[in-house]
Symmetry: C2
Subunit: 364 residues, 2 copies
DNA sequence: CTGAAAGCGCTTACAG
DNA sequence: CTGAAAGCGCTTACAG
């Protein structure tokens, strides 16, 4: 192998300016510079014109204190850890964006950790975050993915979850599933569609139960019997089960399972509107309904859940529930800030609820 | 306001164990513990059984060196900065995931920065990353978004871009657009579709030109005239232009623009296959083609670009080009590692090319 | 009003 | 083979 040709080493990325550099320029000690730049104990500490001079120098030299040194000295890191299953996951990518956006508003940065890429990554990421001294951790890893949430919370009390992790001491933000069910149903009822079908993915999950309660409440509010609602609780016979991918919560539902849904809800129950567990199931249903000659929304209306941009691209464009990720993100950052300010046991309720909102397109 | 009820302060998240703690336990000095745990200068430094004892203690006490202290002392931060336009953007969310996955394999962490959330964020994020002492920066901000890339590269030479930033000294990973064009065209030609239409978004962009060259090369390889290819170069007359959103590169193409594409490529040119600029345009075309009674793929085939999961949900499922983000991510991390190891002016080529791959579904 | 000094936890020459 | 010590850049009591 030939010796690498010597190349001109570019000027080392200009050594950053330190407190001593300013002190030397200003002809004072670092203590003075420090107290001026930190603004501690008001202005009483330093002569006004000295302070002026120091501030000017700092600006001029573009001084930025070393976060590393500050942190070692005991200051906050101004870094938050963000645990996700996979950043590419459609259910989380927008939440990632909005969380970082909020974190940045507080002058902080976001350290990300994909936990579904390999077993044990959840715990390893949490350890890394903690040893780096993050100010708090956001855990938006869907409950279907593994991870020791209890240990996480014990080791980092300033943790906020997205969706209930099922721990007594956890602070979390959740989608109001009752409101979601009610809003979807109300939207269908408004157009006279009283026979409703709900295609659940996992009927045992609390979220499904709450949505069903919401749908029933909407029916009851119009004095309609609960029998107007039929629930598809999963396949029977030979139909393949409704199941998500291993690494994401994308749902790929095979045709026989979709037929099973359609047979039960549209053919048997004669539903005028279907509420689908999420936009992916809804989109798959749209395709299968068209293949079977059932028109949407004329024969049956379809409402999704998530308001993924996918909704714009399917045919017909899908009416869906927007989960208002930016509100959830705002609430999560606010919650963690309060934990930082007032200690890890906040007086406010631990469960913060965000109400989804119907976005009307053409499918319902 | 009532005084907050005093609540039991939970045990402070166990003070992490330091080098001195181990030293005290082991009855040696910190220097010895340090050299054992860092394994510097081989084992010659310390008596074997002392080393044993120290290693055992470290394991037992679950010792993790403070990255902050190490960094202050001059070690690498083991943190990489990742500049994105918006983490929720469909074109980037999977790249974010794969980059973090690769970074983690190297024992490092990823700091994320959304730059499209507000003006000036690109520069502010870059500053933050640099002042935190990141080992390198990945910039996957699409060129349509603002940001001073030249200054970024000057201040942090260990920067790797996704797609050519147009700077002479930049190292970047790019999609081989020529191969993309050729592969799409070859796929159409294989099924006897020789009349091809290409719907560009921005015909002035180099990427579009390269893809066109690739399509022409595929035609030439079969001794077909270049006139078999028609290029839709944007709307004329009243049709609304093809344009992306402000904060993402999602494309919402209005119906009149889609009609313009269809009129020019399908009606006038009688194309048997359309190559779309991306999956979003392709999906919109699928819908509009169906509305006009043109069958896909029977009357005209459609090929997308990106292989977004959207492809599975549109009707018919879209044949597309997978950009192999995991390969791009691997190449980006490898490139930055070489810059770290061998200095910022690597001997290897600065442009690293990734070849996309056709994923066949039903639209072509 | 200002400066000298200790210390955060680690690494690493240097002296025994 | 081992330990005492300096120093990374900052903050903050403490002494003038």
């Amino acid at each position: 192998m030939p010796a690498r040709a010597p190349h001109a080493v570019p000027a080392p990325p200009t050594k950053s300016v330190r407190l001593v550099d300013i002190a030397r320029e200003a002809g004072v000690s670092v203590s003075v510079v420090g107290s001026v730049l930190n603004g501690s104990r008001g202005n009483s500490r330093v002569a006004p014109e000295t302070a002026q001079r120091i501030n000017a120098l700092a600006k001029q030299l573009n001084y930025r204190p070393s976060p590393t040194a500050q942190q070692l000295r005991g200051k906050r890191s101004n870094v938050f850890g963000l645990l996700v299953a996979s950043a590419g996951d459609p259910l989380t990518s927008y939440l990632v964006e909005h969380l970082d956006e909020e974190v940045v508003k507080h002058g902080c940065q976001t350290l990300i950790g994909n936990t579904a890429v390999a077993p044990g990554r959840f715990e390893a990421c949490a350890d890394e975050f903690i040893s780096r001294g993050v100010d708090g951790i956001f855990c938006i890893v869907h409950s279907m993915f593994p991870g020791d949430r209890a240990k996480l919370l014990a080791r980092c009390p300033n943790t906020v979850f997205y969706c209930d992790p099922g721990l007594p001491d956890a602070t979390f933000v959740e989608i109001n599933q009752f409101a979601a069910g009610r809003a979807s149903a109300e939207h269908l009822l408004q157009s006279g569609r009283t026979r409703i079908g709900f295609a659940v993915a996992d009927p045992a999950a609390a979220s499904g139960k709450q949505r069903i309660r919401g749908i029933k409440a909407a029916l009851a509010a119009r004095r309609l019997p609960a029998s107007e609602l039929a629930i598809y609780k999963g396949p029977r016979g030979s139909a393949a089960p409704l199941r998500p991918d291993e690494r994401t919560v994308l749902w790929h539902t095979p045709d026989d399972a979709l037929d099973d849904v359609i047979d039960e809800l549209v053919v048997r129950h004669r539903a005028a509107g279907i509420i689908a567990h999420n936009d992916f199931l809804a989109s798959a249903l749209l395709k299968r309904l068209r293949a079977r000659g059932i028109r949407v929304p004329d024969d049956v209306a379809v409402v999704g859940y998530l308001n993924h941009y996918l909704c714009e691209y399917v045919d017909p464009p899908l009416t869906s529930l927007d989960l208002r990720h930016h509100l959830a993100a705002k609430a999560m950052v606010k919650a963690v800030q309060e934990m930082i300010d007032h200690g890890p046991a906040p007086p406010q309720p631990k469960a913060i609820s965000v109400e989804p909102m119907v976005v009307v397109r053409q499918s319902a």
